[in-house]
């Protein structure tokens, strides 16, 4: 029953319907997927024209299967989505989107270091994520989930963030 509700919620979120309240984790999962629609990766980021866009999750994320269900059957410019859960220490360079769950401060600097030169969109939920090298950081505003964007960091990684998304970012750097 709970699963079914979640599935329905996920579907509702996919349509961007402001159905409240959905759990914070679920909203973040859907946003994670939606970010890909406002970001442009360099052509070399993909092995081929049909190779999947990989969404990686690192850390103790509470999204459960929401993300998998959200990207199921979805494509991005002809590419399928792939969801990977990274183990600590696993190379994140093949990820197009890397979600760092939880307030893992020490881990961020290491990951960013390993990602240097890779076109990976980093998304985190730790406070001040976008001010410390991360590209998009989720922020809670009351009961709503908002996000901050560090456009300079994204551009440094060769990513182009759509102005439409930037207009939603609560704080920008650069």
């Amino acid at each position: 029953m709970a699963l079914l509700t979640r599935a329905l919620l996920g579907a509702a979120l996919l349509g961007a319907a402001p159905v409240e309240p959905a759990s914070e984790a679920e909203v973040k999962a859907v946003y994670l997927f939606q970010f890909t629609k406002f970001v442009e990766w360099p052509a070399g980021a993909f092995a081929g024209p049909r190779s999947p866009l990989t969404l990686c999750l690192l850390g103790a994320e509470p999204m459960g299967g929401v993300l998998e269900r959200a990207v199921e059957r979805e494509t991005f410019a002809g590419r399928p989505y792939a969801v990977r859960r990274l183990e600590a220490g696993e190379d994140p360079r093949s990820c197009h989107v890397l979600f760092l769950a939880g307030p893992e401060r020490g881990r961020l600097a290491r990951v960013l270091e390993r990602l240097s030169g890779s076109a990976t969109l980093t998304v985190g939920e730790a406070p001040g994520f976008a001010e410390r090298g991360g590209m998009i950081g989720f922020v809670r505003e009351g009961d709503k989930v908002r996000f901050e964007i560090d456009q300079a960091a994204a551009e440094a990684a060769g990513l182009k963030v759509s102005a439409r998304l930037l207009s939603l970012g609560r704080r920008r750097k650069g």
């Binding site: 961007a16 319907a17 159905v19 946003y31 629609k37 996000f147 759509s162 207009s167 939603l168």
Partner: protein
């Protein structure tokens, strides 16, 4: 408002030309305005639709990440355009997500998104478009635009059209007034000539010849007709003149001949008297001297004497007839009643043996020659006495009847009468209806009566039936 058919030709022309110009221009203007309005509406719709699509693109992220503030900020950009009245962003589920309402414009975006499309309703142009992200519909945008712009465009067009219509109408009127003379001029000239001809009867007038069009043909035909009428007129006048001259000549000839004839007969009658008196006188002398005449010779002598006597009476009659024609009328008031009484007394004295019942009615006093009118009464009453011989009693009625402008005197008897076939013959000189042996007379009496009455300006006529009496009438002019 006079009927069109009664308007002068010039006005008709001006009206038709101006009316046609204005009407065709009006049609053109209406069509032009309709096309322009339609194009303006289509243009507005296209612009609004494009704007909706642009805003939809800009608000896709806001919808995706459920940020109504950003959505409202996107819509708020419409504030710069005062024509935009309201806007709304709807989530995929249909709930109003963000809205924009101009403070001074009435109308909020509807609570639920209307069907996609661009349409005009309630005085607003409304565009409804889907918001898509990566091929997926994430919401709906609604834009409402004030139609003031369209109405202003229309008003400008109508005002311009009215100006053009007014100007063109005035121009058409002025041109029509200026140039209608080209058409109406010859017609008016022709009409004027025709009117002058028919009013003054002057057939010498001619219309000025025009061009080779129908009016020119009409003008020359009209002139041709006038020529014919004038020619006929001249011929008629000539014929009439000739006739009159001939009649005058003949009348003069006849009058001269009549005069000669009357002079001749008068002198003949006059000259015949002298030898006749000699015959009479010497016959008397001869009968006195021849005492021993036998009875037969005596009878011969008597016949000669009687013939001479009758001849004398005829000559007297002829002279009298001539005199009635020649003598001047001596006009004066004549009491016909008194005159009739006198004639009756005379006639009664001449034939005392006759039993005649006289019925003399009222007779008026007339204007005329008493001596001549007495001759008329003598003849008519004398005839009545004469032709009632043998009637017992003889009844003679004399009466008068007033008619407009004249009096009609009638003398009616119960005598032998006559056949109406000869009614006109009796008025001729020496015309007799009966043998002299039956009724004595010279055959001059009625002729004299008719002449006298005619000289007084009256008429004579008679009615009768054989054996049942006759009525002779004569009229004399009389003022009413």
């Amino acid at each position: 408002m006079p009927r069109f058919a009664d308007l002068p030709f010039r006005r008709k022309l001006i009206l038709v030309i101006t009316g046609t110009s204005v009407l065709s221009l009006l049609l053109a203007c209406v069509g032009f305005i309709a096309a322009e309005a339609s194009a303006a509406r289509r243009g507005m719709a296209a612009v609004l639709s494009t704007r909706a699509l642009m805003l939809a693109d800009n608000s896709a992220a806001a919808l995706t990440f459920r940020d109504p503030e950003v959505g409202a900020a996107v819509l708020a950009t419409l504030d710069a355009d005062p024509r935009m009245a309201a806007a709304g962003l709807y989530a995929a589920g249909g709930t109003l997500f963000a809205s924009f309402t101009r403070p001074d414009a009435a109308g909020e975006p509807p609570a639920a998104p209307p069907q996609d499309g661009v349409r005009i309703s309630e005085g607003r142009l409304r565009a409804v478009r889907g918001v898509h992200l990566e091929g997926r519909r994430v919401g709906t945008i609604y834009l409402a635009q004030d139609l003031t712009e369209l109405y202003e465009t229309l008003a400008r067009l109508v005002a311009a059209a009215l100006c053009v219509l007014l100007g063109a109408g005035l121009a058409a009127f002025a041109l029509a007034r200026r140039f209608e003379r080209l058409v109406s001029g010859p017609l008016l000239a022709l009409t004027e000539t025709a009117r002058a001809v028919s009013e003054r009867g002057d057939y010498s007038l001619r219309a000025a010849p025009g061009g080779r069009d129908e009016l020119g043909t009409l003008t020359s035909a009209f002139n041709g007709m006038l020529d014919q009428i004038a020619a006929r007129d001249a011929a008629l006048r000539e014929t009439a003149g000739t006739l009159e001259r001939r009649v005058a000549e003949r009348t003069a000839d006849l009058a001269a001949m009549n005069g000669e004839l009357e002079a001749f007969s008068y002198s003949v009658a006059h000259d015949l008297r002298a030898p006749l008196r000699h015959i009479d006188a010497f016959l008397k002398l001869l009968s006195e001297r021849l005492t021993g005449l036998d009875a037969e010779s005596r009878r011969h002598m008597d016949v000669i004497a009687s013939a001479a006597k009758r001849m004398g009476a005829m000559i007297d009659g002829l002279i009298g007839l001539a005199r009635t024609t020649r003598a001047e009328l001596e006009r004066g008031p004549v009491d016909l009643r008194r005159l009739a009484e006198a004639v009756r007394a005379e006639l009664t004295a001449q034939a005392p043996a006759r039993a005649v019942e006289w019925r003399l009615g009222e007779l008026p006093e007339v204007e005329g020659d008493e001596a001549l009118l007495r001759v008329v009464l003598e003849n008519l009453l004398g005839n009545a006495v004469k032709y009632t011989r043998g009637r017992e009693p003889a009844v003679i009625e004399v009466g008068a009847r007033r008619e407009p402008g004249r009096v009609v005197v009638s003398v009616k008897d119960n005598g032998v009468g006559f056949d109406m076939r000869y009614a006109e013959k009796l008025w001729g000189a020496f015309q007799r209806m009966h043998r002299a042996e039956e009724f004595e007379g010279t055959g001059i009496g009625l002729a004299s009566a008719r002449r006298i009455v005619a000289r007084h300006g009256g008429e004579t006529w008679a009615e009768a039936e054989p054996g049942r009496g006759a009525t002779f009438r004569f009229s004399l002019p009389m003022k009413s």
